[in-house]
Amino acid sequence: MNLVNETRNEVVVVYVKEERLDAHNSAELKSAVQKLFEDGTKNVLVDLKDVRFIDSSGLGALVSGFKNAISHQGNLKLSSLQSQVKSMFELTRLHRVFEIFPSAAEAIENFQQ
């Protein structure tokens, strides 16, 4: 799985450089986010700009990351969801759980508040 990490203003941005986030690759994202929190990162932003398709496993990996954030007194937010991907969050009510921002820049700004 192609993940690119970038640290900006004490936020680790994880860019998911995949067209699909599904049962084939979501375990890798789950592990990568888990490792960030275990290594002491407090603020993680997962940017889904390139993700055109997400399934229940992909959603599950993000839920796992969100729970990891809570257990490590950290934060996990999301940015740049394509409209079809966003509709899956709405269908599963997960849009009420995650803080979702239109762009990585807006999310990073929100972490500073």
């Binding site: 699909r20 599904d22 049962a23 084939h24 398709f53 399934d55 229940s56 496993s57 959603l59 599950g60 990996a61 839920v63 796992s64 969100f66 729970k67 079809q84 899956m88 269908l91 599963t92 009510r93 759980v97």
Partner: protein
């Protein structure tokens, strides 16, 4: 929607690396439906998702008897009736015993069948003597 008759019968190894291939076939079929009056891109996503979730389900329930098992997927469209059948030879499970997700509790798992049920009109899981069949139907209107 007369003239929209399509039947696709596919077998792939029961590996998650083939999810993308199966999903894309669903998307392409949706885009080929000349007389479908709804949003084809939304339907394409939904077919991709339903096929992905159903195939993951089949992989999970496939039997351990042979290391190289296959999943069979049949997609048929007759007039405005879409039927997707996914065959696995595992232990099977009673689909009616699976509760909808508890939206108040954050579980990592348990949204796949809910998504299929949300996007299709009817969902049945039945067994015959040699395999289990997940059958999903939708009116394409």
């Amino acid at each position: 929607m007369a003239g929209n008759t399509i039947e696709v019968d596919i077998k792939v190894p029961n590996k998650t690396r083939y999810l993308s291939l199966i999903g894309k076939i669903g998307e392409d079929i949706a885009r080929e439906l000349e007389k479908y009056s709804g949003d084809k891109e939304t339907l394409a996503y939904h077919l991709n998702l339903v096929l992905t979730e159903a195939m993951v389900n089949a992989i999970k329930h496939a039997g351990p008897k042979e290391p190289e098992k296959q999943v069979r997927i049949v997609i048929s469209i007759h007039a405005d009736d879409l039927t997707i059948r996914v065959y696995d030879d595992g232990q099977g499970f009673d689909i009616n015993s699976i509760p909808p997700p508890n939206f108040e509790e954050l579980e990592d798992r348990g949204r796949g069948i809910f998504l299929i049920r949300s996007l299709m009109d009817t969902v049945y899981y039945r067994k015959n003597c040699k395999e289990n069949i997940l059958e999903m139907k939708k009116k394409l209107v």
